[in-house]
Symmetry: none
Subunit: 346 residues, 2 copies
DNA sequence: TTCTATGCGGCAATTTTTTGCCGCACAGCG
DNA sequence: CGCTGTGCGGCAAAAAATTGCCGCATAGAA
């Protein structure tokens, strides 16, 4: 649920990386279920997406970049009643200024210098299908206004155009930013946020669904093995172990890129851990030493709660430990145990 | 947004989110009493609005976004003598530059490139009905001047037009900004402010009229249940408790979105607190920690903490209990023990 | 349909926590 | 000095929690 952000840079061709997956999806989706949803969490998400697809309500997909947000968008589109209709994806992150309006609204011939042909914008291209807004969080405030107006009035005009065109598409938006915070800071309009955020779907990062790493790796291996005519490539068990322990800040996209590189570099045969980039090994080794934060464990939660309760009772008791124990309704002996176990200094 | 009575017979179910409500309102308003005004404060406001409706004085409705300011505007219009006349709403927040003048004044054929037909503006469309100005605070200063002139002289011309047209509509304006402050800073004209602010009505945020949360929730539940063909949905008492304690920064709109989402996601039956988004629980829990200095025994504190942790993990696991146990780092068996010991309904 | 994964609750073994009891130390006080 | 209240920690019994294993039921995928 908690998202890290960062990483807007360094990824060229946002639409390309996941294309194979997308192709896969396209093939499989009509059948409906064959997609890779190994982990329980992803299955749950798939169910949510399927349910949600039925409605026309706007969807906001939140997740780190590379987690396959666009995939969900297509998934929803493919399962919705708008299946046969257009699916119009727009990456808002790369649009600003003039480009922005032009991309969405399109233009009439002569609307500005260089505009010599009629050009349909995304609002128009989406027709009564699905308009997918990638990186909505990047829309600059002044453009958010235009956007909101179209959503509200359900109509728009091409640049230089004079007649209103209806906007009938269903909105699916995605972002890796925390829009809530942006709203608070004033960099994202609250009304636009609430209009988009009717149905939030949050996609967990790859490191929180490690079960999927091995099948994904195999999947990509097969794809690239085929593409580069290197069959018979295998991942050594140790290699899979390292992959499974890495943190994958770039999520599925990073995994896919890695496998492609490995396939290209490989002479054929088995891919060993030594073929992996050095950082991976290092990171895995380091995390083994640090043994995880265990943030969500019940133990940790209980410990925190106990410490807070003890501190409060201690203050209420005016510093007397026996009295503290009485308030907490435990024996003084137990209190001593806990105090020493938690290393409390009272 | 505050509506009552459930003879939803006339619901078409294909309108935009607020439209149903509005349609509903339209049906009910003439009768006059069907509006939902549970809290004392809102009843007082309703009385004010009803009294005010009789006059032709401008009204300024102030309230956070999502509080239903437009609803009040319609309410006033519907109760006024202008009932049968046009009601022309304009969202000023999304207008700027030329759009602004065009929207309000309309234009004659040939007024500017692309203007080949006569186009009525809002001043004209409102006729002798009600002109509702949403987000008046957003009108840029230079446009405020034009505006003020129309209000003062009670006449205007279309862009490119030569003859004066009378302006006879009644003004109802709304904003979520503090116009007073804007006047002081100079971003809002004082004379315009005083002209609009003849009768101020301030709509409190949802968190200040929590009595209305349960009926509103039920109301939306019914509407969306009908729209999505999921009857028999109910809110568990605990769910209502959480809803009632949340701060609702997005006010009624946020509540409405939430219910829509819950209906879509729900399998049917009872909606439990675990179906709610995590932030809500967290916020509610946090406030419970602050004001709950009750003579907490350690046991109670631990119990609370465990329940919260379990709920959180349960959601993180997407509803799988085995997965929940894994996250909490306890055995599934223990989880079952705790669940039954605490009587948790997940 | 069968197979598989999940979920439920009873039972018993095991582990952990809690508690009471003890001796000891220390500080305040008459 | 002796008395008293508080606090510390070892020890072992008692209580409770945890876990694994079992059979059974159910839902979804193959």
């Amino acid at each position: 649920m908690e998202l890290r952000t960062h990483d807007t840079a360094g990824e060229s061709g946002k639409n390309l990386p996941l294309d194979d997956l997308d192709a896969h999806l396209e093939e499989q989706l009509p059948g409906g279920t064959a997609f890779l949803f190994r982990s329980v969490g992803m299955r749950a998400l798939r169910r949510v997406a399927a349910q949600v697809a039925a409605s026309d309500a706007p969807v906001l997909i939140v997740g780190e970049s590379g987690t396959g947000k666009e995939l969900f968008a297509r998934f929803i589109h493919a399962l919705s009643g708008r299946r046969g209709k257009p699916y119009a994806p727009v990456n808002c992150g790369v649009l600003k200024g003039e480009l922005f309006a032009d991309k969405f609204f399109g233009h009439e011939p002569g609307a500005f210098t260089g505009a010599n042909r009629l050009q349909k914008g995304s609002f128009e291209l989406a027709e009564d299908g699905t308009l997918f807004l990638d990186e909505v969080g990047e829309i600059p405030p002044q453009n958010q206004v235009d956007f909101l107006r179209v959503l509200e009035e359900r109509k728009f005009r091409r640049l230089g155009g004079e007649k209103d065109l209806p906007f009938r598409a269903r909105i699916v938006a995605a972002t890796n930013r925390r829009l809530q915070d942006m709203v608070r800071e004033g960099s994202f309009r609250a009304d636009l946020f609430y209009r988009l955020n009717v149905i939030p779907i949050s996609v967990p990062p790859l490191r929180e669904r490690r079960e999927e790493i091995p099948p994904l790796a195999e999947h990509f291996l097969e794809i690239f093995g085929h593409r580069y005519h290197k069959k018979d490539l295998t991942l050594a068990p140790d290699t899979l172990k390292v992959l499974g322990s890495y943190s994958w800040p770039g999520n599925v996209r990073e995994l896919k890129n890695l496998i492609e590189r490995l396939v290209l570099m490989s002479e054929g045969g088995v891919i060993r851990p030594t073929d992996l980039p050095l950082e991976m090994d290092m990171e895995v080794a380091a995390s083994a030493l640090l043994d995880g934060p265990a943030s969500l464990s019940l133990d940790a939660a209980v410990k925190e709660a106990e410490i807070r309760a003890i501190r409060r009772a201690f203050r209420a008791a005016g510093g007397s430990r026996n009295e503290t124990a009485r308030i907490l309704q435990i024996s003084p002996r137990t209190l001593r145990h806990k105090v020493s176990a938690y290393g409390l200094k009272l």
